[in-house]
Symmetry: C2
Subunit: 578 residues, 2 copies
Amino acid sequence: MNRKTYDTIIAVASGRKEADLCIRHAKILDVFNKEWFDGDLLVSEGYIAGTVESGRGKARAYEEAGGRYLVPGFIDSHVHIESSHLSPTEFSNLVTPCGTTTVIADPHEIANVCGVNGIKYMLSSSEHAALSVMLMIPSCVPATSFEHSGANLDAKAIAPLLGKPRVLGLGEMMNYVGVINGQKAVLDKVWEARSRGLIVDGHAPAIAGGDMSAYVASGVRTSHESETPKELRERIRLGLYVMLRQGSACRNLNGLLGGVDGNNWRHCLFCTDDRQPKSILSEGHINNNVRMAVAGGLDPVTAICIATINAAECYRLDDRGAIAPGRRADFLLLNDLKEFNPQRVFILGRQVAENGYLQVRSEAIEPKNVTGMMHVKDFSAERLALHLRKNHVRVIDVIPGGVVTASGEATVKVEKGLWVHDPAADILKIAVIERHHATGNIGLGLIRGYGLRHGAVAISIAHDSHNLIVVGDNDQDMALAVQDLVRLGGGVALAKDGEILGDLALPVAGLMTDQPAREVAGELAKLHQIAFCTLKVNKDVDPLMTLCFMALPVIPALKITDMGLFDVNAFKRVPLEL
Amino acid sequence: MNRKTYDTIIAVASGRKEADLCIRHAKILDVFNKEWFDGDLLVSEGYIAGTVESGRGKARAYEEAGGRYLVPGFIDSHVHIESSHLSPTEFSNLVTPCGTTTVIADPHEIANVCGVNGIKYMLSSSEHAALSVMLMIPSCVPATSFEHSGANLDAKAIAPLLGKPRVLGLGEMMNYVGVINGQKAVLDKVWEARSRGLIVDGHAPAIAGGDMSAYVASGVRTSHESETPKELRERIRLGLYVMLRQGSACRNLNGLLGGVDGNNWRHCLFCTDDRQPKSILSEGHINNNVRMAVAGGLDPVTAICIATINAAECYRLDDRGAIAPGRRADFLLLNDLKEFNPQRVFILGRQVAENGYLQVRSEAIEPKNVTGMMHVKDFSAERLALHLRKNHVRVIDVIPGGVVTASGEATVKVEKGLWVHDPAADILKIAVIERHHATGNIGLGLIRGYGLRHGAVAISIAHDSHNLIVVGDNDQDMALAVQDLVRLGGGVALAKDGEILGDLALPVAGLMTDQPAREVAGELAKLHQIAFCTLKVNKDVDPLMTLCFMALPVIPALKITDMGLFDVNAFKRVPLEL
């Protein structure tokens, strides 16, 4: 808010100037007393000037609420926008009709590809979006030292970013082991954010007791990795804000809801973390969390408060989260307190969506320094040849429905010192091709349970370093798919018998596109169909998402990076041959 | 907290280092879930490392809680330390045994006398006190332009002070009329604090509707001037934190309690605002608010949460307000949940009081640039002569039990053009003598209902400019009392028949002393006795406090400043003669 707007809002509130807009006859939520009241809402220069008795508001323009519920816009407390495959503007176009008006975004994925440039792109590309995008600076780039990512952000690199507008603090500190063990380089980053009075997001699956105390003592403020009501309550006891996450893959909301009560709701938040365009289009965004919470027995006012004022308080966003004077005029009109599909969505006093349809499209800006991120060296089908001296080897066993794998063993077919595909065995070749520094690194391994019969699937989204990952039964199709990715500047490619059957370009860092959500979701659905019907991928696994997590060396048990096979439990590289 | 301490606490929490102190077998309050749990508390370098199962804590030293309640230290959300007549260190010695471990202090009084030097003194003198003193920078110095105060703090003067350590924001914005009317110089100050993301305290008696919306839109966050449950709820609806104040004069707690419920308690705070040493010694400090709230029907846990975590959240003091890892080890052991007289008080892990007795005395520092603030020019008994051309005059009518006066009229005795005291009339002379800039200004008036028969009472505390104020039946005793104040460097003086009957020196700005609270309270009791028994002051009025508010030109109806009589309702100076 600038000073002119500030002066104007005060003048309008006090009656010295006329309001721009009056929303008449609304049932307004008072999130502080947790009660409804009938009133008219006065808006000036995009901010709330106040509420007056129903029907008494005066303004230059009027909108009729017709007795509908008027509530603050919803806030997603933790999201990786990149997981939607959409640029921030297209993400805005997708989620604002759902009633999400603010997100706290952690650009961890693009930072792993483009470093500081990626974070700057997320800031600049979201600057003029309808959605208010606040940023947390990624704390763990790279995630581990057992792979090559595009950047390395230490405390010194992070410091200037923490001072930028719309930056609220440090993103999820995934290296909780480093925090607990007091690793200086890790604590340097937390200390930097903390010393500036900024927020530090947490990420601590399954830790408790003294370890959790140490993690909280470091200054972490939130947790989105809780699984049970007991864990939720224990973490709230430590002062953490606990997020009830409902992503595409990780769906914790129902499992946590039993722990929320009339006392501790104050420290609960909603988030999506990672949510696919398909899920958002079919189920919604934060309104889905609210709907599920209410369906699960939470009273609607508490659910709305969790989605609004709680997030605002946690992240010190005093300018939103409530229908109160001086705050942003980000609000929704709701037909009911069950479905939470907003009849209308207003952001900064402007109606951006009605009945699920976008009315004000946020236009993409030209991406700078974040395209063409395909620095692949010396790649050819020959580089995929898998030399084996023994035929008893480690294989990555896919566990359907999750991101965890098992570390398996198998006896495979070896001809002339090279692995060959055995159609009877459901074992495929998997390769990770370094794409940031043109090192020419290729990690090779074997994967079981993916089910593909013939062909290859390649993708440039491979958490967290986002090298290229490809799986297939033959090197030619695998190479073709990879070469297609390089040509596209990143994305997804499916190949069979020397032909590209389908692909999707994700030119922004190889992670995102400026295409609209519906088109992206449609393309992805087509690619899924090809994967299942033509390539015969196992129907129990997601053909793309599964691959995205095969290179993540912090999730058990056996993973593969551009530097080779990695045993997560032992936390070290291991050879393919046993 | 410095980095070494930070690293140590994490190490202790994780079990890599031993704790300094373990409080064993406590019933610990979890303010976030609002429930009790049995445990041991681990303290390291003055901070909480965590809690462990009861009896399982390991440390270099142990203290036995014996099953007592362990709760966070209490926070006074708004206090003028000067009103205790004690320096910050002596104030600390007085309130810490009551369980107050943090105060948010607004040094409005000393700022009116000493300006920036006064604020710096409050910061430096409190720096090493056991009590944690956080400061709000006074927003209204001087309170009005109809009097001479010692300083004038505009936005430019305030800006550098807002950046100092322990400064949380801008003190109570009393000029709500200026805010509502959009006066630039007033809004400049609020904008300055707001732009830095700092807190702005409010002060808005009896305003509502659009005016209140304008006031809140300016960025004000708190209110301690609420009177009814309805007002409390209306203000909470606007997003304000509402303070349940229990001072010596203003006692709003019981009147507001009916508005607090299971939903809005989150936006309630406790404060004392102005509290005399006598009240603190006899009733307590914030523990008195907690006790009264519980006696009034609030559940003890909610009352304690209001006194602790709510204040911490409102003022963004993330390092306190809860028993949780990484926070200050400021906590109390309580025998019961009724009296709230702490059995022991710990601040930064050190026991500072036991059973009401101070164990760690905070030693005063030499006051700098805040003593000898008696710049009185050309004063003598002759200057008190009250020349009248008419005998029908305005008189200030004292209304017992409050700070409001009535604007009265009277026909008085005039001899040789001078007012003379009429023993039958209960009308006395009152004078305000400018003491900041040696202007030689003296405002003269008449006061009815104070009841003094013979002699004079003078005091250097006269809100908000704190010029000297004196009342009496004869100029010689009045002059003697004033001259005694000048000699003392400020304070209170009672004179009769050419003799000082009693006095109390308040050498710090003429407002405070480094003497201990019990001595000050004893001296004040003696002075009260002299005022009542020897000078025959009306028993219905407080002989000192009443005078303190006679020069406050923002409280109706007729007041007197060094510039003469002031009609508060008309907001202008008026002549004595009608």
